[in-house]
Symmetry: C2
């Protein structure tokens, strides 16, 4: 008889990765998410060191099923991190071996919801193809919190990842996104490597129309959160400087 | 001296609205979200009856600051529900009076994150315009959970709301979305009034290419969750029937 398959749990992580101050886990994760994270013995992760650091924090609240060094922790290959799950020809099915043998697996990224603005969708896709049940757990997502808090439309929106780094291409892309946002009403969200936050803000203020609304959010769920939503004219008359270490979400809309 | 302003908290609600079985609140809401919901005395909501029912559930876990009948609960006008915050000329600033007088306010919708695929962004926007600090709290979002669990790209995606109800227009819109998804790699998410779920699935299976991937998710966080992600050819060879009462999220991608 074939044993019942294990499940693939999508386990959200707090949004304080690489931050000076940590958010208490109970502030950002429901009890059920903590309970499941504590009992899983097999993990697929973006980075094994960060996954262990997360589990150390879970262990401060409740006992883990196994000592951390005894957990089975597999990392996604570097090419998946770098290019995105859907841009590379990566077969994630071998990572799901434990589930085929009846063991539950956790998928975790360094911050927020795995497979959303983060690696992992190839693993989820492979689970569907293998008939492994996928269970997304509740937790924080920087994109979702930024969108809700932006005051921009959440009834029609897009997340487009990173914009081009090269100036002329970036300017053109900003114009494209603004035009989409103004013409269709679709809020456009994107991110930037934190050390380029200020350069991105500068480009946005140079390129966008004075009446376009720009929201910037970072460190949501943390005490020193940054959240500002204003027309470009308002940003220009009073600048907010962006931390070069803080991942932020940019959103434009009308 | 002007008193310090109150804050606007975005308070997520569980995803079991109008469902037979309820999710235990602790499964879907972190302790900090429950703590803040329990102490707020002023609310802005999609529907007052649902907001009270939510607070009754919170009260089962911890005492509220005031009896429910003593809470100040303001409803968003019907036009905002029906057409969307950004489609009507609605000034939400008067709703934020308590915050200007130093009182914190909670914004809550019937299910999930307020202002995401739900009314509320006009209130958030008004808060920014009035200098009222906006604090999004962590909780479930059907869109985000559906996206993460779909196996489709979460690094480039859009939520486009409802598709047209009329057949010819809907067919055209489905073709447009498929073409966007396949050409740009941008996952396209949308929703439908639950009683039309089956008709929507039928249209999708008729219109989409056999190799396009279609994911359908409903009741995530509940025991009887529906989650299937498969190529259209797979859906056609094995049909899943959709509950006519369950709100579902549809997603297409490559």
């Amino acid at each position: 008889m074939t044993p019942a398959k294990g499940k693939l749990y999508l386990v959200p992580a707090p949004l304080d990765f690489a931050c000076d101050k940590l958010a208490p886990l109970r502030h950002v994760l429901p009890q059920a998410t903590l309970d499941i994270a504590a009992r899983l013995q097999h993990w697929i992760c973006e980075n094994a060191k960060s996954a262990r650091a997360y589990l150390v924090r879970v262990r401060e609240l409740q006992p883990l099923a196994l000592p951390i060094q005894a957990l089975d922790i597999q990392e996604l290959p570097h090419q998946v991190h770098k290019k995105g799950d859907h841009q590379v020809d990566f077969d994630a099915r071998p990572l799901l071996g434990p589930a085929l043998r009846g063991q539950d697996i956790g998928l975790v990224s360094e911050a927020g919801m795995p497979a959303v603005a983060d690696p992992g969708s190839s693993v989820v896709c492979a689970a569907h193809d293998l008939g492994v049940t996928v269970v997304p757990l509740v937790g924080p997502s920087s994109l979702l919190l930024a969108l809700a808090a932006s005051g921009l439309s959440g009834q029609n929106f897009a997340f487009v990842g990173y914009l081009p780094a090269q100036t002329a291409q970036r300017t053109q892309r900003i114009r494209e996104l603004e035009s989409l946002a103004l013409q269709t009403g679709q809020t456009q969200l994107f991110i930037e490597t934190p050390y380029r936050n200020e350069a991105m803000l500068q480009s946005l203020l140079e390129v966008l129309d004075a009446q376009t609304r720009l929201a910037v959010a970072g460190g949501l769920t943390l005490e020193d959160a940054l959240l500002r939503s204003d027309k470009v004219a308002g940003w220009k008359s009073r600048r907010t400087s962006l931390d070069k270490n803080m991942p932020v979400v940019f959103a434009i809309g009308r």
